[in-house]
Symmetry: C2
Subunit: 698 residues, 2 copies
Amino acid sequence: MVTNSFSAPKSLAVIGASQTPGKIGYVLVDNLIKSGYQGKIYPVHPKAKEILGIACYPAVEKIPDKVETAVFAVPAAKVLDIAEECGRKGVKNLVVLTAGFKETGREGAELEKSFLALCRQYDMRVLGPNCVGFVDTHTPINATFLKGFPAKGGIAFVSQSGAMLAAVLDWSMAAGIGYSKIYSLGNKADINEVDCIVEAAADPNTKVIICYLEDVACGSEFLRVLAEVTRKKPVIVLKSGTSQAGAQAASSHTGALAGSELAYDVAFKRCGVLRANSMSELFDLASLFVNQPIPRGKRVAVITNAGGPGIIATDKIEESSLSMARFTKETIDELRLNLPSEAGIYNPVDVLGDAKADRFQFALEKVLQDENVDSVVVLLCPVAVTQPVETARAMIELNKAYPDKPLIASYMGGPSLEEGTKMLSESGIPTFAMPEPAIGALAGMSTYGEVRVSSLNKKDNGYQPDLKTVKAVFYDVKRDNRLSLLGSEAAEVIAAYGVSATPTRLSQSPEEAAAVANEMGYPVVLKVASPKILHKTDVGGVKIGIKTADEVKSAYVNIMESVHKYLPAVVPHGIEVQKMAPKGVELIVGMTRDVQFGPMIAFGLGGIYVNLLKDVSFRLAHGLTLGEIKEMIAETKAYSLMKGFRGDKPVDMEAVCGVISRLAQLVTDFPEIVDVDINPIFAYERGVSALDVKITLS
Amino acid sequence: MVTNSFSAPKSLAVIGASQTPGKIGYVLVDNLIKSGYQGKIYPVHPKAKEILGIACYPAVEKIPDKVETAVFAVPAAKVLDIAEECGRKGVKNLVVLTAGFKETGREGAELEKSFLALCRQYDMRVLGPNCVGFVDTHTPINATFLKGFPAKGGIAFVSQSGAMLAAVLDWSMAAGIGYSKIYSLGNKADINEVDCIVEAAADPNTKVIICYLEDVACGSEFLRVLAEVTRKKPVIVLKSGTSQAGAQAASSHTGALAGSELAYDVAFKRCGVLRANSMSELFDLASLFVNQPIPRGKRVAVITNAGGPGIIATDKIEESSLSMARFTKETIDELRLNLPSEAGIYNPVDVLGDAKADRFQFALEKVLQDENVDSVVVLLCPVAVTQPVETARAMIELNKAYPDKPLIASYMGGPSLEEGTKMLSESGIPTFAMPEPAIGALAGMSTYGEVRVSSLNKKDNGYQPDLKTVKAVFYDVKRDNRLSLLGSEAAEVIAAYGVSATPTRLSQSPEEAAAVANEMGYPVVLKVASPKILHKTDVGGVKIGIKTADEVKSAYVNIMESVHKYLPAVVPHGIEVQKMAPKGVELIVGMTRDVQFGPMIAFGLGGIYVNLLKDVSFRLAHGLTLGEIKEMIAETKAYSLMKGFRGDKPVDMEAVCGVISRLAQLVTDFPEIVDVDINPIFAYERGVSALDVKITLS
C-alpha cells in the first residue's frame, strides 16, 4: 500500500524541468501550475534560474526544504544517480516517466532491477518507470505530461496503458465525465494496481474505481485486497491480452479446459470485481456507478415514445441478466386511466409518438412508485412534438424524488436532442444514443449488486483428513522419481479425504488379476496401470464388463498387447482390477493450478467426452464456500442430470458438494499437487464413487 | 415489387395539407419544397387557396393534371372516401401517414382490410398506413413529416419503426452519414420490406441496404428475392422481437430446440442477409459497406501509436471471425530498418507514442503493400506529438492508392482529434472512438464477403424415392384419424427415401413378440408402440439387450404394466420388436416447420440427452445443398465424434449427408409432414441405421 498522501504530496520536485515549451519537462511544470496545485513546486535544471516563474535548483540536494515526491523526466542513463540523490535527500515517492527499462528488453530489465533495489534501500516508493504520471482533481494536482485536466468527479482510473489516459483526458473534456484520480502504472516496478486501488478506495472523493490491466502483479494479493475493497466500492476492470493467453499445456482434462483468461474470470468473480468486455462498457459502467444507486433487483421498467426502440430494449433486457418488471394492478390502472387508449400500459410503457413531457413525467412517476420496479430506462426519439428538454427536466426532478431507483436514458438522435442530453448527463442521469448500451450498463450494475461479497471468511468444512496416508503415498511416489500417482495410489489419497473410490487393486500377471477379481466378485474392469498413459481408453488400455476368471486372464493379455502396439516405449506397472460400479450420473471433479491465482477446482459432465462437451465450471480452491460450490454445480448442464433427468431419481447432491469441498481442502493442504482429475466419478441416489483418479505432483 | 419510379414520382398530391405551421399537413408541404423536389406539388385542402405559395385544390379530382402519388394526412375515418377518389383520378401510389388501423385492434384491422381491397380494385400501391413516409435524396424528395433532410449518400434504410427514422435523420445531420433512400413501412398493408429492398437494389445510388424489421411479410418471397439481391448488394437487418419469440410448442425434440428467432437466423444465412445485433452495429456496418471495399480475406493488420489499444484490438480480432495478418519477411525487414528500434514490427505494428504522421504513413504503406494483409485498422491516441490531421491526410492518400483493401480508423479522444476524425469520415474512412466497434464492423463485412451466395440452384441429389409407399402409409394413418405414425410406419417412410432403419416389427402379444424375436435373432429391443407416447424411455416403455424368448415375454408384460402405471389412459397399439443394433455414433436428424420460412432440418448429437446438450444446427430444407449439409455437420460437436474421437474410426460421412439430404427431400415432397425426429440414428464406419423414427402429420 502506498502512503495515504501519495496523490497529495506537500512538495514536489520536477527533475528534468525545461524552459522549452513542448518539452516534457516544460509541460509537467505547466500542468502542475495550471492544475492549481497548492504544494511547493521545485523545478530542477542544471542551469536555469527559473521556469514559468518558479525558482529552479541545479540539483535535488540543493533544494532548501523537504521534498516529498520527485517526478523524473530525465534520460534512463541518469535515473540511478538521481535516485541515489533523492534517497539521500529523504524523498518519499518517485514518479518515473522515463522509458528505456524492462519494456525494451534484457538490459532495460537489469537497469530496472538495480533502480528498484536502490529505491528499496532508501525506502522510496516508485510509480513507473515508463508511465505518464498521475492526477488528482481534488488535491488538485496534475503530475503528467498529457494535454488537459479532467473535470472533478467520482471516478478513479488506474491504467496500465498511458496512451489510453491521453484518450480519456481528451474525452473527459468533451463528455464532461469527471475523475477523482488517474494513475498511469507503467512498468509497475514497485507501485502496482492494488496499491492504487487501495488509495482510491480510501479516498472519500472516489465512488467507483475503473482499471485497464494487461496482467496483475500478484494474484494472491489482488484476491485478498480486492475482496475487501469491492465490499465498499465497485471496481471494474477491462483486462486485455486474452488472445495471447492460450490454454495451458494440458496434462489433464481439467488443465486442458482451463487457461489463464479463465483464471482471471474466476478470480474476478471470487473477489467481486466486475469485468468489462470493451472500452465503452468500462466507461458506461463507470458513469452509471458514479451517478446512480445500485438497483435492489433485476426488474426494469421501460418508458418509450416509440414502439421499435421499446422492443429492442425488451430484447436486450431478456437477453441479459435483467428482467422486465411486471407492474402492480394499481400502476396498470393508473396508466390505463391517464394515458391515451392506444398507449402501451404494460411494460414497456409506450407513451406514443405525440407524447409531450407531461406524459413521460406521469408514466415515469407511476413506475417509480411501483414496488415491482427496481430501475427505469426512458427511451426518447425526436418525433413530431417531442419535448426533449422539458422531458429531461421532469426526469431530473423525479430522479431526485426517487433516489433509490436507478434512472437512465437513451435519447436517440443528434442535434435536436443535444440540449436535453447535456442536461441529463450533467444532472447525473447517464444518457446513451442507443438503447442497448444503456441496458448493458444497467445489467452490469445489477450484477455487482448481487456479487458484492457478503462474507469471505473461510467456512471450515469440518473434515479431518488422514494426512499421514497422503504423506506416505507422496513419499513413495517421490522416492520412485515419479510425478504421477498410480490410479490405486490416487484413490488412496482421495479416500484419505473421505472421497470414496471404487475398490481397485494392482495386479502384475494374468493369474494375479484373476485371483483379485475372484476375491472382489464379478463383473470387473481391467485398466492398464501406468502414470505415463494419460488416456487409457485411447490405447486399448481398458476392458469393461468382465465376468469370469478366464475372461480376466485373456483381457490382461489383450490390454498388454494393445498398449505395447500403441506405446512400445511404455512399460506398465501392471493392470488394475476394479470392481465394476453400477452406472450413475457421470461427473468430473478436477483441479488445475494457475500461475497467478493458485488452484482452481473444476466440476462438470464427466466421461470420455468431457473435452468435447466442455460442460465445466471453475472456482478458486482457496476459501471455496458451500455457496460457491452450489453455484458452480448449478452453472453446468450436469446439474440437470443430477436433479433427475427425464424421470430418473435425483442424485446425492450433498455427497457431490462434499467431494468438491474435500478436493479443495486437499489441494490447499498439499501445494505440491499440480493437477487432479477425478473422471468419471459416479453420483448415485445415495453417495458417489470415484472410478478413475489421476494426481500429478510438481 | 413497386414500380421503379415509386420514390421519384412526377407529381404528388398532399391530401390534408395545412396552412398552420407545425401541423403534419404543413410540415409535409414544407419538407417537399425544402427537399428541392422537382415534380409537381398539389396541396389539397377544402378551402385554402394556397399553402406556402403553392396553389391548393379542394379535392384530388379537381387537380387539372395527372397525379402519380398521393400522400394522406387525414383522419382515419376519411381515408376510404379519399382513396376511392384517388382511384377514380388514376393515382398510382398512396402514402398513408394516418394511424388508427391494424395497430389499434380489431376495428382498425377491418378498416385496413377494406382500404386495401379498394386500393387493389384501382390497382393502387400503398405505403403504410401508420407510416412516416419516404425520402429519396437523389430524386430529391422528402415525403415525410419528420424534421430534417439527410445528406446524399449510398445507404438505403427500410424501417418498420417510424420513430427510429426520426432518430436516424437527426443523427445523419450530426454525423454526416448520407442516405439514398428512406422508407417507413408502417403497417405494411401492401408495400413491404421486400418491395422497398428491390427498389433500392435497382437504384444506382444505393450501395448498401439496411433494415429495421420486427417481422417479414412473407417468408418464401423474402428468401427468394433476398438471395438474388444480396448477390449484388449487401443487405443488413436488425431484427427485433427476439424476446417475444419463445420456442415453439414442442411435440418433438427438433421442435423444442428450434423457435422462430432461430428460423430468422437460418433464413438470413440462407439468403446472404447479414444480421446486426444492435442499432450501433447496424449503422457501423452501413458506414463500412458504403465507403470501403469488401475485404478479400480475414487477415487484418493493426497500426497503433499505443500498446494498450493495440492489445485490445488484437483480442477483439482473435475473438471474431478475423485473424491477425502475418507479414511477409520483406515487410518485417522494411519496418525493422525504418522504424525506431523499440517499435513493434510484427502485427500489431506499434509506431510508438512519439510517432508523427510520417511514421504512420510509412508503416501503413508497407502493410498495405503486403500480400498477406487483407485490411488495415489504424489506432491513434492523442499523445505528446501526435499529428491527427496530418496522419488523417496520409491515410486518405493511401486509401486512394490501395483501393482494394479496406482501411478503418479508431481515433481515441475528444476535442483534440475532432478535425482529423471529421476529415477521415468525410473521405470515406470510417472512424470510431473505440477500437472494438471498428473491428466488429470489419468482421461483419468480411463475413458478408464469405456468405455472398455463389449459387442457390438446387442440386438434385438424384435420389428417386418410392413415393407410392409413403402415400400408402399416410393414407392409412389419416384413415385411422391419427396424426402420429407408429415407429414401424415411420421407418417404412424413411426407408422409401433410402434411409435404412433397424428392422422393427409390431407385435400384439408376448407370444407374437417372442416369435418375431426368434425370427430376427437376438439380442432385441422392445419398445411400446403408441403415437401418444412421446418419450418412451420416461415411462418404462423400452427394454434393451433381451437375449431369449422368455425374456421377451416377460419384458412385454413389464412394459405394458409400466406404461399403464404412468399413463393409465393410453392403450398402446402393441409392442415393437427391434433387432438390437451395434452401438454407433449417436446422432439426431430431424425437421420442424417454421410458420414463415417453412421446414428446417436439424442435425446434431443424438440420444436421450439431446435437449440437455443442445448440440444441434439448423438449415432450411428447401433447396438444401451438399455444401450447406457439410457446413451444418461441421458446426456441431457431433462432428468431432464422427471424425473419430480419441482413436475411434471415422464414420461414413457420405451416408450421414445422404440421410440429411433425403429427409429434406421427403419434407419438401410431403408438406403435410409437420415434425420428424430420427433419434437416435447410429452412424458406423460403413452406413447408418435409424433406431427410432417419429413422424407427425398435420
